[in-house]
Point group: C2
Chain length 281, copies 2
């Protein structure tokens, strides 16, 4: 790599949470300055800024929104809570449509307090999708079920493997419900390669996200993701695997790590771009 051979960043997307120290205008300006044309956004900062206004900012900055994080949290048993979750997800679908992204990432939700039936909780996820999938499809948005690492199964996401995600997604049309392949959540699973092939053959890979696995895990486990190349995941192998399955979409970097948030955003993005080229692309 030299200055004469610029990085090919065409497929790189920066998930907003990776540089959450940045405001939306800083994100837009910072990505444009770094030669990055794609971002993944989160609902809360977009709502705070204004959804229409955020959509205009991204457009005016030449940025494509590759995904919106996140809908989901479908596992409540209480009828009122379930209705509220469906309403909130319809709003998320509308927001995704306004932002011009075809992908709404779903985190399924954990087990309600006192609940010990994870299989039933997974069925409640499917029940919610039966209501939401047509609504999403009519708006050109695909619901992307994200399997989260099994360490989050009780408190965040009862869908832990790509196989489980596909078992649910395949009950719906592929243009309405897809899956997320995130290296951080799936790297340990020997069955994931077969599931990637299965997802790719059906055109269900809606989103490919990368982060590295590092230890020790911090308390609560949520904010322990590693910068690309700092951990033990064969990131390039995973990219090749989704490509072999037919996926040629964005490669979205999503790293939750307070050490990155404490640094200058532009430095983080420059490092990310370099790491992306060295370890992924």
């Amino acid at each position: 790599m030299t200055g004469a051979e610029p990085y090919d960043l065409a497929r790189l997307s920066i998930n907003q949470e990776t540089v959450k120290q940045w405001s939306l205008p800083e994100l837009a300006a910072g990505c444009a300055a770094a030669g990055i044309s794609k971002v993944g956004l989160w609902r809360a900062p977009v709502q705070e800024y204004g959804v229409e206004r955020a959509a205009r900012l991204m457009r005016d900055s030449g940025l494509t929104v590759t995904s919106l994080c996140r809908g989901g949290f479908f596992t409540a048993v209480d009828a009122g809570e379930r209705a509220a979750a469906l309403d909130d997800n319809r709003a998320a679908i509308d927001e995704a449509a306004t932002l011009g992204t075809g992908t709404l990432v779903l985190v399924s939700g954990g087990l309600p307090a006192g609940d010990r039936d994870i299989a039933a909780a997974r069925e409640r996820v499917a029940d919610a999708l039966a209501v939401l999938a047509p609504y999403a499809g009519e708006r050109g948005v695909r619901l992307a079920i994200e399997p989260l690492h099994p360490m989050f199964a009780s408190d965040r996401c009862v869908v832990s493997t790509l196989g489980q995600a596909l078992d649910i997604a395949e009950r719906f049309p592929a243009e309405q419900v897809g899956v997320v392949v995130d290296t951080y959540h799936l790297w340990w699973d020997d069955l994931a390669p077969a599931h990637i092939a299965r997802a790719g053959a059906a055109g269900r890979i809606a989103c490919f996200q990368v982060a590295d696995w590092i230890t020790p895990l911090p308390e609560g486990a949520l904010l322990g993701r590693g910068q690309l190349g700092d951990g033990c995941i064969d990131l390039r192998g995973w990219r090749r695997r989704v490509e072999a399955a037919g996926y040629d979409g964005p490669v979205e970097v999503e790293i939750f790590n307070p050490a990155l948030w404490a640094r200058d955003g532009a430095d983080v993005v420059a490092e990310l771009a370099e790491r992306y080229v060295r370890h992924v692309s």
Copy 2:
């Protein structure tokens, strides 16, 4: 439950690490006093006390040793390290034989620093077993591969699911290599019930351990196991599942939790017995 209906604790085994505040003599006396006839032991405290002496203590206290934790750590690449691991595991097998237990629990080991090939690391586990399985079989000891939760895949155990454990175990005779079913590690896996049936049909369930899943996880994740009934695992359902697969051996309680270690050992064991009856047996 009243004083007139004593708990049936015949199958309950207390893993030593659950009450690590106790010395071996305290463990022996405390279990005998609580009407518990089975214990799982750990190598380090047994070695410190003396292996022969520990075997005699358990025998004289009327206690059966249900398992010895732990051998394993087979994933090194370096030839010297691999030879040392094999030697150490031969010693562990000898210790298990001396203690009169037929079960040596194996924790496979994590990824060496800089290694990004988890599939190859799993093959190194199988390579080590090819050397050790006949040695164990000749001494009446079965090597029990324990899948650990995927959150430990990089730093402790590259075998994360019962399916992965069986894929390795099935290369060897069932009387030489079995598997451990531990609710804490497997509760989230929708494929585990089928793997339990597969393991049971082949007589490969060497050990059944129980602990509950609670959150938030502590830093490092290791010491976050929950007392029976405090978490979200359907422990009784898991016991029934292993029994339906033909397992009728001990139910070993193995909880790593500093809050339990800070308490009086006899109180912890009394609580455990009550929880075992209420949530497991």
